[in-house]
C-alpha cells in the first residue's frame, strides 16, 4: 500500500473533485430534468418538441463527446469562463472542471427527465381525470395530485440515473479533470506492480458513493411508502 501513503494527499483531492462534480452535476440534472419532464407533458407544442428533441439528441450522443464539445468547442466561440473562487489554488479547480461538470449535468438531465416522465405516466388515469373534474388547472393537477403520487414511482429510476452519473463522472479523465479516474490512471502508471490493489480500492471508492445514493433512496422510499 506504498502507493497510497505516498499519494494520500492527491488521492483525497481527487476524491473531493469527484464528489464535488457529482454533487453539482446531480443538482443540475435534477432541476433541469424536472423542467424538461414538465415541458414534455405540457400543453404547449413547442415546449414538448424542445423537450423531446433534447432528450433524443443527448441520449444518442456519447458523454465523452459532449464533454469534449464543451471543453474544446465552446472556447472556439471565445467564451472562456473566468473563475473567481478565492482559494482556487487549493482546490485546483480549472476551466475543464466547469465544462466537464456542466456536460455531466446536462447529459444526466435527459435520463432524469425520462425517469420523471415515466413516473408521471405511472399514476393511474383516474387521478388526473378526477383532478381535472374538480376544476384544477394543468399546473395544479400536476403539483397537487400527480407529482406527489409520481414521487414514489420516480424515486428508483431517478436514483438509477444518479448512480449511472456517479460512474460516468470518471469519463472526465478524457478532458483532463484531475478527478478519481485521472488519479487512478496516474497511479497505475507510477506503480504498475500494485495495479490490482489500486483498481480495487478505486472501484470500492465509487461503490461507496453509489451506496450513499442507494441508502438515501431507501430512506426516502420508506418515508414515501403508503402505510
Amino acid at each position: 500500500m506504498e502507493w497510497f501513503t505516498e499519494n494520500r494527499h492527491d488521492i483525497l483531492v481527487a476524491f473531493g473533485f469527484t464528489v464535488e462534480m457529482v454533487v453539482i452535476a446531480g443538482v443540475v440534472a435534477l432541476v433541469l430534468g424536472a423542467i424538461l419532464a414538465a415541458m414534455r407533458v405540457s400543453p404547449i407544442p413547442l415546449a414538448r418538441g424542445i423537450g423531446t428533441f433534447y432528450v433524443y439528441a443527448v441520449r444518442n450522443t456519447p458523454l465523452l463527446l459532449i464533454m469534449l464539445l464543451f471543453a474544446f468547442g465552446i472556447p472556439n466561440l471565445d467564451i472562456r469562463p473566468e473563475l473567481h473562487l478565492g482559494d482556487a489554488e487549493l482546490l485546483r479547480l480549472n476551466v475543464f472542471f466547469v465544462f466537464a461538470t456542466a456536460a455531466l449535468g446536462l447529459y444526466t438531465a435527459a435520463f432524469v427527465c425520462e425517469a420523471v416522465r415515466s413516473g408521471i405516466n405511472s399514476v393511474p388515469l383516474g387521478q388526473a381525470e378526477a383532478a381535472r373534474a374538480i376544476g384544477l388547472t394543468f399546473g395544479q393537477s400536476l403539483r397537487l395530485v400527480i407529482l406527489p403520487q409520481a414521487f414514489r414511482a420516480v424515486l428508483q429510476p431517478v436514483a438509477s440515473a444518479l448512480i449511472a452519473m456517479i460512474k460516468n463522472s470518471a469519463i472526465a479523465v478524457g478532458v483532463g479533470v484531475t478527478e478519481m479516474g485521472f488519479e487512478m490512471q496516474k497511479l497505475q502508471n507510477d506503480h504498475p506492480s500494485s495495479r490490482w490493489e489500486i483498481f480495487i480500492v478505486f472501484a470500492i471508492a465509487y461503490m461507496l458513493l453509489v451506496a450513499i445514493v442507494a441508502l438515501v433512496t431507501a430512506a426516502l422510499e420508506r418515508r414515501a411508502r403508503i402505510a
Binding site: V41, P43, I44, A47, I50, Y56, A57, R59, N60, T61, P62, L64, L65, I66, L68, L69, F72, G73, I74, N76, L77, D78, I79, F111, A115, I120, N121, S122, V123, L125, A128, E129, R132, F138, S141, L142, Q156, P157, S160, I163, A164, K167, S169, A170, I171, V173, G174, M180, G181, M184, Q185, Q188, N189, P192, R195, F199, F202, A203, Y206, M207
Partner: protein, 289 residues
C-alpha cells in the same frame, strides 16, 4: 396514462392562452438561435475555410477510418458481450449455489465499477502481461476497450436475459418438465426461444449503449471516431464544428439502432403478450447505465 389527460381539450380562452405561451416560447427559442448564430459568426465559425477543409478527401478518409474503428470495436464488443451475457444468465439461473453465487458476484461487481476505470486498468494490464505487451498500442487499446465493454455489457445483458426468461409464463416450464424434458432442455428448447422475443428491445437498447461507450477508446488511445476527429478538428481549425458534426453521425447511427428496437417492440406488442412489460421495467432501470 397519456399526458393529454393532464389538461382538458382547451376551450377558447385556454386556446388563446396556449397560443400566447407558445408565442413566448417561439420568441425565446428564436432569441437563443439568433444568439448562437451571432456567436458562431462573431467567432468565425461560419468561415468557409473550416467547411472546405472538412470536406477535403483526406479529411473524409481520416473520419471514415475512425468510424470504421468505432464500428469494429462496437461489433466485436457486442458479439462477445452477448456470449458472456448468455453464459452468465445460464449460470445465474442455475440450481447449483456454487455456480449461481459467483456469477451473481461477478455481474454485480462489473455493473458497479465505472467502465472507464475498468478500461484504463485493462489497458495497463495488457501492457504489462507477456503475450499482450508486444502488441502495438492500437491492438492493446482495442483489447482493453473490447474486454471492458464485454465485461460491463455482458453483465447488463445477463440481467436482461434473466428477466426475459423469467417473463415466460410459469406454465411453460412446468409443462416442459411434465413431458419429461431435462433442465437444460427446458431452458434451451422452451424458455430461451420464447424469452428472446421479450428481450429483443432491451438487447438493442444495450447495443446503443455499447456503441456510445466505444468512445471511451479515446482514453486508451484507440484511434476510434473521437480520437480520429481530434486531428481533423485541429486541421479544420474548429473543434466546435467538427464535434457537432461527429455528434450528428452518432445520433444517426443510434437512430438506426433505435428504429430496430422500435420495430422489434412493435412486433412483440402485436402478438399481445403482457410479459414484455416485465422486460420493459428492467430496460428502464438499465437504460440509465
Amino acid at each position: 396514462m397519456s399526458s393529454s389527460v393532464l389538461f382538458d381539450e382547451p376551450g377558447p380562452r385556454a386556446r388563446v392562452r396556449f397560443r400566447l405561451y407558445n408565442g413566448v416560447f417561439v420568441l425565446v427559442v428564436l432569441g437563443v438561435i439568433a444568439l448562437v448564430l451571432y456567436k458562431f459568426n462573431a467567432a468565425g465559425q461560419f468561415e468557409s475555410r473550416i467547411y472546405h477543409r472538412l470536406s477535403e478527401n483526406g479529411v473524409i478518409t481520416e473520419l471514415r477510418r475512425g468510424l470504421v474503428a468505432t464500428l469494429e470495436a462496437a461489433g466485436l464488443a457486442i458479439a462477445v458481450a452477448l456470449l458472456l451475457g448468455i453464459v452468465l444468465a445460464v449460470a445465474r439461473l442455475s440450481d447449483h449455489r456454487w455456480i449461481r453465487v459467483p456469477a451473481t458476484a461477478f455481474v454485480e461487481f462489473f455493473r458497479a465499477v465505472p467502465l472507464v476505470l475498468l478500461i484504463i486498468f485493462l489497458f495497463g494490464l495488457a501492457g504489462a502481461t507477456s503475450p499482450m505487451s508486444g502488441w502495438d498500442t492500437r491492438t492493446q487499446g482495442l483489447a482493453a476497450l473490447v474486454t471492458g465493454l464485454m465485461l460491463y455489457n455482458g453483465s447488463v445483458l445477463c440481467e436482461v436475459f434473466r428477466a426475459g426468461v423469467n417473463a415466460v409464463p410459469k406454465g411453460q416450464a412446468e409443462a416442459a418438465y411434465a413431458i419429461g424434458m431435462r433442465k437444460n432442455q427446458v431452458l434451451r428448447v422452451v424458455l430461451i426461444p420464447q424469452g428472446v422475443r421479450y428481450m429483443l428491445p432491451a438487447i438493442i437498447s444495450q447495443c446503443v449503449v455499447a456503441l456510445k461507450d466505444t468512445s471511451l477508446g479515446y482514453i486508451v488511445l484507440y484511434p476510434e471516431f473521437l480520437r480520429g476527429s481530434r486531428t481533423v478538428a485541429q486541421y479544420a481549425g474548429s473543434f466546435l464544428v467538427t464535434y457537432l458534426l461527429i455528434a450528428l453521425v452518432y445520433i444517426a447511427m443510434n437512430s438506426v439502432l433505435s428504429l430496430l428496437a422500435y420495430w422489434a417492440e412493435r412486433r412483440i406488442s402485436q402478438r399481445g403478450r403482457g410479459a414484455a412489460r416485465a422486460v420493459e421495467h428492467v430496460e428502464e432501470a438499465l437504460a440509465a447505465g
